[in-house]
């Protein structure tokens, strides 16, 4: 995919930030570019930079504008941006494949039927389609440790609901626009609740408060409500396992 000539683009965000955007539509190269550019920013470790992050297709840098002026930082960003073809960057190192046991539908996840219908699939086809697709963490955001996962098959390009569902629980798997989101907190949402896991994404009391990282891959194998209940009782992994991708 050839990026549009307007991209990448550097803008200021607020008084104390820069946003380096690699596209205004989600694409695999733009996502990889954002992750790699943020890693390069962290590696550069410029004075005055206070933190960095990524969204789906952008890297973000927050700095102290009283210690470092915008023009000097912009020059450095221009230089770093020109130093590589970020759209051809590799995925981050140390990625892992997670298998997170998942209950599709039932009273735990009441919107599987309507989501399948919106995707033009039977419920059985929908479960097969989601559970057999190895999705990637494209970004962590919105809530602590919460992944945007993609990309699903074309048929899942279904819109968000126009009205919000109240209080979809922590561990819920929701779908819209060819992406899945796994909820780290209980929240209202416009995405459809199609499955439920027992996986805790945010564990503030532990040495690894945030479990998933951008670049990690995830499978959601089907399980039963009874087995999920047992796995949840065993701890915050909810039966999930991980292995390092090589």
């Amino acid at each position: 995919m050839v990026p549009h000539s307007n991209w990448p683009r550097i803008s200021t965000l607020g008084v104390d930030g820069f946003l380096i955007s690699f596209g205004d539509r989600l694409s695999e190269p733009a996502n990889r570019a954002a992750l790699a550019f943020r890693a390069a920013l962290d590696h550069a470790d410029w004075a005055g930079v206070e933190e960095t992050s990524t969204s789906l297709t952008s890297a973000y840098l927050r700095f102290d504008p009283l210690a470092q002026d915008h023009a000097a930082l912009q020059t450095r960003l221009d230089g770093l941006l020109a130093a590589d073809d970020w759209y051809k960057a590799e995925l981050p190192g140390g990625r892992r494949l997670w298998r997170i046991p998942t209950v599709y539908g039932t009273d735990l996840a009441p919107q599987l039927g309507e989501a399948a219908q919106a995707a033009g699939l039977t419920v059985e086809q929908a479960i097969a389609s989601i559970s057999e697709t190895q999705v990637r963490v494209q970004a962590i955001g919105f809530a602590p440790g919460q992944p945007y996962l993609g990309e699903l098959a074309d048929c899942w390009d279904i819109p968000r609901q126009t009205t919000l569902s109240d209080n979809v629980p922590q561990g819920a798997l929701v779908v819209a626009i060819r992406q899945l989101v796994l909820f780290s907190v209980t929240t209202p949402t416009g995405w459809r609740h199609i499955a439920q896991t027992g996986f805790r994404l945010f564990r503030p009391d532990t040495d690894t408060p945030f479990t998933l990282r951008p670049g990690d891959e995830v499978l959601f194998p089907p399980t039963t409500p009874e087995r999920l209940a047992n796995m949840k009782a065993d701890g915050p992994d909810g039966g999930a396992t991980s292995e390092v991708l090589t």
Binding site: R9, S11, T12, L13, G14, V15, D16, G17, L19, S21, D24, R25, L26, R38, E50, E51, T52, S53, T54, S55, L56, T57, S58, Y60, R62, P65, L66, D69, H70, A139, I140, G141, F142, A143, P144, G145, Q146, Y148, S184, V185, F202, P204, D205, P209, F210
Partner: protein
């Protein structure tokens, strides 16, 4: 034995707050911290202590409190009616709260967020680098009646009776903002209309953000609602589905899909957080270079708050044991009326 603050009664939403948790944006956790960060700095200045120390954030109303040993306190932010054992005490000032006395803090007269600071700070264990509650992320929770909150050691246990001039920010007014990556999605005429309009603060609002209500038509961007989820930061002015603005505060999400017309300056965010339902807020678009200079001036002012401290002059009407003072003979230390009550 460690001193403690005993909470007998607390309004809903009362929480321990400090400067929050910068550095976890990449993990989806916004920095949070005190809704009115200037009030946090003012409390630290009044007690001449580190501005990293945690205070109690009171939302709309206070509560009833007691300490297990004599403790300095300071009250800042939205002015609330406060008494010690029934005797009124001055807001935006430091006082001595004697062991066992009852500190009662009532409803805010203007603004939303008031702060109770204690000498030595609220010394809770840190969780992900800070002591503050992040209510949206479920980190620590609101403070409940019956809580006993430990206090840190106080380096200057005797310095009280100081006051600071108030920085008025409790009833709306004009806030400054800068353009951002999505400002060009809005036509110049829409931005002109935005900066000319007065917005009423909606009843919906919390530490995540504040919804504003426009009397005229809502605002429109070329992107409509198809903007890809992007990094958002406190101060961003989102234009939501119905065309009305929503200003993000410290506990906001870290990514969002609504188009943003710009970002409010950090030093003006307390004014947004403190506006009450019905208060009018206006927005003034300023160039980035000017915004940096405004922030620099405010930063200097915040860092020199201690130079602006004045001794508290007491109103004799507020001294409940006036007759016990030696007012006539003239042989006094000269500070009787400035000493803390009772």
């Amino acid at each position: 034995m460690t001193r403690a603050l005993i909470v007998h009664r607390a309004g809903p939403g009362t929480s321990v707050q400090d400067r929050g948790r910068p550095g976890f944006l990449a993990q989806g956790l916004s920095r949070g911290g005190a809704a009115d960060r200037l009030a946090l700095a003012e409390g630290a200045a009044l007690l001449r202590q580190d501005s990293q120390l945690a205070a109690l954030e009171l939302v709309g109303t206070g509560g009833d409190f007691e300490v297990t040993a004599d403790t300095r306190i300071a009250l800042t932010g939205a002015p609330m009616r406060a008494t010690i054992d029934g005797a009124p005490i001055v807001w935006n000032a430091s006082h001595l709260l004697p062991q066992g006395a009852r500190l009662s803090i009532g409803a805010a007269r203007t603004g939303n967020y008031g702060y109770l600071h204690l000498g030595g700070g609220l010394d809770l264990p840190t969780l992900l680098t800070a002591r503050s509650a992040h209510l949206a992320a479920g980190l620590n929770g609101p403070v409940q009646a019956g809580s006993r909150l430990p206090l840190g050691p106080d380096a200057k246990p005797d310095q009280t009776g100081l006051t600071l001039g108030t920085n008025e920010r409790f009833d709306g007014g004009t806030v400054r903002f800068v353009a951002g990556p999505q400002t060009p999605l809005f036509d110049a005429s829409e931005i002109d209309r935005f900066t000319a309009m007065g917005f009423r603060r909606d009843t919906r609002g919390n530490r995540m953000g504040v919804k504003l209500f426009c009397d005229g038509a809502g605002f429109h961007s070329d992107a409509g609602l198809s903007v890809l989820s992007e990094v958002i930061t406190p101060g961003d002015i989102q234009i939501t589905g119905d065309g009305s603005p929503f200003v993000l505060l410290g506990e906001c999400q870290t990514t969002g899909g609504y188009p943003r017309i710009g970002s409010v300056l950090p030093c003006d965010l307390p004014r947004v957080a403190q506006a009450r339902p019905g208060d009018i807020l206006r927005f003034s678009l300023i160039p980035l270079a000017e915004a940096v200079e405004v922030e620099r001036r405010e930063d200097t002012r915040r860092k020199t708050l201690r130079n602006q401290l004045r001794p508290l002059i007491r109103d004799p009407h507020n001294i409940h044991d006036l007759l016990s003072y030696q007012l006539i003979s003239g042989v006094t230390a000269g500070d009787d009326l400035e000493r803390d009550i009772p």
